[in-house]
Amino acid sequence: MSGGHSDRLYVPGASAVHRLPPQCKLVAVLTFVLIVVATPRDQFWAFGLYAVVLASVAAVARVPAPVILRRMVVELPFLVFALLLPFVSHGERVQFFGLTVSEAGLLGAWNVLAKGTLGVVASILLAATTEPRTLLLGLERLHLPALMVQIMSFMFRYADVIGGEMHRMRIARESRGFQARDVRQLRVVAQSAGALFIRSYERGERVHLAMLSRGYAGSMPVIVDVRAGRGQWLTAAALPMPALAIAVTAWSLT
């Protein structure tokens, strides 16, 4: 999670979706994904409707479609996996665009692809409308263990610092004629990684001293309070509620 990278996921704006407290959005997205995953895979229409629900959220949040499409590349590995399924699966064979493939595999591929895509798009919308920092505050609010949230926020803060250190070490290596051509040079790279670890550890100690010096006594003070009202929870429910209705219908039809 590099600082620069996570900043780019965020699309600044002031829409209703942007303004919702992070914990509401987190819960909404999580519930939505769980409902989608629980939907029977042969109710194809249900997935079309889920897509419509997500498209409406994207429209309200003013997140442009090309932005979403570009970020969907994270899904590529799943796509490849899904494409292979019909060919490697056993069971009854069916004709599909002139190819003989496994029927169970085809359904399995559709299942992975449809549910995966909906989950990825929901997460992209969450990241696009919530600053990474605020997302952490939301997790804190949802009573994720404080230590975990602290570690994540340190990662957010120090990713660039450690990345910079790594970059300087690589330049220093290469300035002295080092080229990573094959595995024999692995030893040098491993040594650099060790040095990086020690530097990061020492930095951790210095940061801890700086924290103690400002009165830290083991728990982070709550500085930014992101409280959510009933109205905001209800607004956030606009994502999982229609999904729930769709899923219930889909189940009753099977």
Partner: protein
């Protein structure tokens, strides 16, 4: 100056402080240092002299093997720790160590929030501290997006927000370009706060501090007006303190305060 040294306990009183690291290396041998309210004092000394070790004793991060430290009359002991850490504002050398929160606002709020401030009172403290160092406009930025000079100034704000009795700066001018160095000097001068400035930057010490002490090998070897110390070539050379090329303190008038 508005404070009257005679009426109050010294801002900082270090008495016969000695300390050895757990590995047996003795870093301080009976250090004495007194700083009156409102005074700005430079702590000079070569690498490894024990300067950082001394600084870490001032707010109880390290505790004395022998001797005492007290801040505005309050001794540094386990029971007083939170109040001592409020009174002694240490600005560490690397601002990346000091600024560990995701935004400037939260970083400056960290200290006063640990002291129990909340809500408007906390927000006001943060704004005031950032205003004092001219960084109010950057309040919502993440620290890693600031220039080095800006980060150093925000680091100063993080301790100003605790309204310290004494400001302690470890190498404040290191890694700054000349413009940032001058801007920081202007800020420090305008704060009119009791200050202990650890530095190798002798012109900076002369510019900002009327008095200097020299620490070498864990003992205070000199204590006097900065101008006099810098003009004593023999003293400076014997403690590995060198003036930059072309800098002649004798040619400068003694800076007024």
């Amino acid at each position: 100056m508005t404070s009257h040294p005679g009426n109050r306990a010294p801002s900082l009183a270090v008495h016969q402080l000695a300390f050895a690291y757990p590995d047996g290396h003795q870093a301080l041998f009976g250090v004495d240092l007194t700083i009156a309210p409102g005074e700005r004092v430079a702590l000079l000394g070569p690498n490894g002299a024990g300067k950082t070790t001394l600084v870490l004793h001032l707010n109880g991060i390290l505790t004395a093997g022998h001797g005492t430290v007290s801040v505005a009359g309050l001794p540094v002991t386990k029971d007083n720790m939170l109040e001592i850490r409020r009174r002694v504002g240490i600005v560490f050398q690397d601002p990346d160590d000091q600024l560990f929160m995701p935004t400037v606002r939260e970083d400056v709020a960290f200290g006063p929030a640990n002291l129990g401030l909340r809500g408007d009172e906390l927000a006001e403290r943060v704004r005031h501290a950032l205003d004092q160092v001219g960084m109010l406009a950057l309040i919502d930025r993440p620290p890693h997006h600031l220039s080095f000079g800006q980060r150093r100034r925000v680091a100063v704000a993080t301790v100003l927000a605790m309204q310290p009795e004494i400001l302690v700066l470890d190498e404040p001018s290191s890694n700054l370009d000349p413009a940032s160095r001058r801007e920081l000097a202007d800020i420090l001068r305008d704060l009119e706060l009791t200050t202990l400035m650890v530095t190798h930057d002798l012109p900076y010490a002369l510019e900002l501090c009327a008095r200097s002490v020299i620490l070498d090998e864990g003992v205070i070897v000199a204590n006097g007006p900065t101008h006099d110390l810098l003009c004593d070539q023999e003293l400076m050379r014997s403690h590995r303190l060198e003036l930059p090329f072309g800098f002649d303190p004798k040619s400068l008038a003694v800076p007024g305060r």
